[in-house]
Symmetry: C2
Subunit: 277 residues, 2 copies
């Protein structure tokens, strides 16, 4: 079957979006569409320009026999700002206030469209950091971890509080939770990571950073390297933060249970000075 350019463009766009961070040889497309490599190259130029124009991402061409094309999800700065603003709008609703000054945000973590966009935000900023694995702790960080993972095309490992038979042999550590100062346990399946891997840690919420610090310690047990930390919401607090090099989208400044008000600000995402494009 002979493909028209218009059909190739639709199918190619689909294929590239489904295979982020993967090098696809030009021969793959030229064989699939029975088209000359020169035609495929022209197609890819159109896709590349549209992706860049619309803030969808980058299309990187690797020349040579082992070369090909690679789609790198990259979000435009304006879209990141839109997401942060929308997310803050949602979070600031007073009916999210829970006893003890906690915020209900389980519904937002269960929203696949929001999570997909948040995942792309973090995948954009960590696109060049060479991530091998994304690590989170059960339960609430899992949706963010998977959303980032899909855009970076790397596996997710989930740290648990308890050991389960279905995890096989595990490595377990004790750590001090940041705010409550209690000793807690973290467990991770031995098969989860190989030594030397570079790991992005993520979670939905961070206060002092005790859980993050626990995951950092767990990384060391596996002889892995910390490649970055991504947090959806960080909370303002008086203590010294246990981790420093992290990205947050939103900062919870203050919760007033009496007046039922929630004060939020932008996280450190843009103040880190990382360039998105």
């Amino acid at each position: 079957m002979k493909w028209k350019r218009s059909e190739r463009l639709v199918d190619m766009t689909y294929y590239l979006l489904e295979h982020p961070h993967q090098l696809i040889p030009l021969t793959y497309f030229s064989e699939l569409y029975s088209s000359a490599k020169s035609s495929i190259s022209e197609d890819l130029t159109i896709v590349k320009e549209t992706f860049e124009e619309k803030g969808i991402g980058l299309l990187i061409t690797v020349p040579g026999a082992a070369g090909g094309v690679k789609y790198i999800p990259k979000m435009a700065e304006q879209e990141v700002r839109d997401i942060i603003r929308e997310f803050m709008g949602e979070l600031s609703q007073s009916d999210r206030l829970l006893p003890g000054g906690y915020l209900f945000m389980t519904d937002l973590l269960g929203n696949p469209e929001l999570m997909n966009r948040v995942g792309k935000v973090f995948a954009s900023v960590f696109a060049d950091r060479q991530i091998d694995v994304i690590m989170t702790v059960a339960t609430k960080g899992i949706s963010i971890a998977h959303a980032i993972a899909r855009h970076l095309n790397v596996p997710v490992v989930v740290v648990r509080r308890d050991s389960k038979v279905t995890e096989g042999s595990t490595v377990s550590i004790n750590y001090v939770s940041g705010s409550s100062r209690r000793i807690q346990t973290m467990v991770l399946s031995k098969r989860s990571m190989k030594s030397g891997q570079r790991v992005l840690i993520t979670d939905d919420f961070m206060k002092v950073g005790g859980t993050m610090n626990g995951m950092k310690n767990l990384l060391e047990e596996f002889e892995c390297e910390l490649a970055g930390i991504a947090v959806l919401v960080e909370a303002q607090h008086a203590d010294v933060t246990l981790v420093d090099d992290y990205y947050s989208l939103v900062k919870l400044q203050e919760v007033n249970e009496k007046d039922r008000t929630i004060a939020l600000s932008e996280g450190n995402f843009f103040s880190k000075g990382e360039k998105l494009k």
Copy 2:
């Protein structure tokens, strides 16, 4: 700015893929691209034919003033068979055998590409069932639930074993786990679902169906309706299954710990007689 057809096709494909099961008015595209509706219609015909030809999904056109176009992810039968075969190949490796005859599959649940494809399989088969919510139980079902949710554009709710302050008020039930016959507890945030919603239940593994049955009971507490059950792996067993109308991709026939062999077969996915196309 004036858009060329080739650029519109790339951007439209991206937009439709990012917004499954959402009705997009033709005016959205015609304003975005400063193009006549007739040109947009021609573009959409090309997208539609390519999506159908390549087994990407359907593009449904709703006529009239409130009309528009909707992308419905639908996987071709051959691709589902490929996924099942690949998945069985992975699962049958003898080093997955754990003490007690359990199988290690956490790595597969953490693989974003595999989960994305599995999610599309179930989203395809439940595309016409009117799903409002996807429910799973922590921890291992979460990645499948989110993968399905993304393709159906509905929220995920996660049932927990324990109540946490960040969940707000909760509804809790006791149920009998199928195989161990122990009494267990399930907890779900009250805000998770509204009465009358149609819920798809999913999990990574099902033996007798005790956990699934527990979730069914929880649905009743919320006055919600069961819309379907999706299971990655079901296990062969002697007892009566507690749930009947479910879809499984793979069936675990037998585990021989002495010989270290794992016998698998296709799940009931195709024998249910549901048509994919």
